[in-house]
Symmetry: C2
Subunit: 200 residues, 2 copies
């Protein structure tokens, strides 16, 4: 199934550079078509259904433009004490987020959606990973923000860069924290593939 996946034409419905890096590392044959869906987190919502729904919306948004291929969407948020964190709007919000995460355990949710065309098979699911942050001191938070790494990332940190200095422990899928749960994606891909082969 590895060769089958690598040979498949994929459309990534996401502008996230981290997701593109993951797809490149896997050697996938993909192109990027950004959806026009904007993330807006409602006051009260469940993170698992929120991210799954967002991923689905992204895929549906571009599905009319695509006749043939596997369209993949994803959406990631950070959850701490029932609070859902998206990307910080500015430096002071990034700082607030880092103070919240420092010395605590939070959860990262990513929803994914796979839409196979022309077979019209849709698969959606989500992954959740626990991340434990070390205590960061004031200077570390300031220096980290100065590095500019926090600004375009859910929860204001990147686990694959300088942020890794402050991660004590990950429990679950690492790539989910980076923005794309590879392992879950592969499971859904295999499920769909069986349906496609079964139907022919």
């Amino acid at each position: 199934m590895i060769k089958n996946l690598i040979g498949r034409k994929i459309i990534l419905a996401s502008g996230s550079p981290r997701r593109a890096i993951i797809f490149k590392k896997l050697g996938l044959n993909f192109s990027i078509v950004k959806s026009s869906i904007k993330e807006k987190i409602p006051e009260s919502t469940k993170p698992d259904s929120f991210v799954t729904n967002m991923a689905l919306k992204k895929v549906k948004n571009i599905s009319k433009k695509i006749d043939n291929g596997l369209i993949v969407g994803a959406d990631t948020v950070v959850v701490i004490n029932g609070l859902i964190l998206g990307k910080p709007k500015d430096i002071s919000e990034a700082k607030r987020m880092l103070y919240l995460l420092s010395g605590n355990i939070h959860k990262v949710y990513t929803g994914i959606a796979l839409f196979f065309k022309p077979e019209n098979i849709l698969k959606t699911d989500f992954e959740v990973t626990e991340v434990e942050f070390k205590k960061m001191d004031k200077i570390e938070i300031e220096e980290y923000i100065e590095s500019k790494e926090p600004m375009d990332k859910a929860g204001a940190y990147g686990i694959q860069g300088i942020g890794s200095l402050f991660i004590k422990k990950v429990n679950g899928c690492f790539f989910n924290v980076m923005g794309f749960p590879i392992s879950k994606f592969y499971d859904l891909y295999k499920q769909a593939q069986k349906e496609i082969v079964g139907a022919t």
Copy 2:
């Protein structure tokens, strides 16, 4: 302390491309000087002391050549059912390793050693991470070996590449599995830095 670390001249006593990738991503100022130490796993040994000792040997091996800088050594092994796995010698050993890991939980140990010169401060420690593999079928193992990814890696898999398709869960430091426990490294660095500043 982030800026302090990024400004520091580092000598990486390892030929592992994964470690170099990690150092590059962190933006560290480093050069590579490979040690001449060859990994040979004795019949009966404890993995934690083995990897720590290997890391120390690598650092000591090149420390005579270096007058000024932080020398960093590391060594990684995979442990399953008390069996220590290094890099596979050939395809059939890689296959045996993957059959062992498939559907099971194993542990990854990395020892690290930091030698600060001219201060002559030495820090060593190790990190351990649990990794849970999905069940791989025969074709997946064959296709994975064909991809050549397993051949130069402890335990015959790379968690950052195609191997990620088969990882169900990580419990602990992800980068430890990739070959270098960044978070532990930063803790040891900060400890040593305090001693250096305290002594001046």
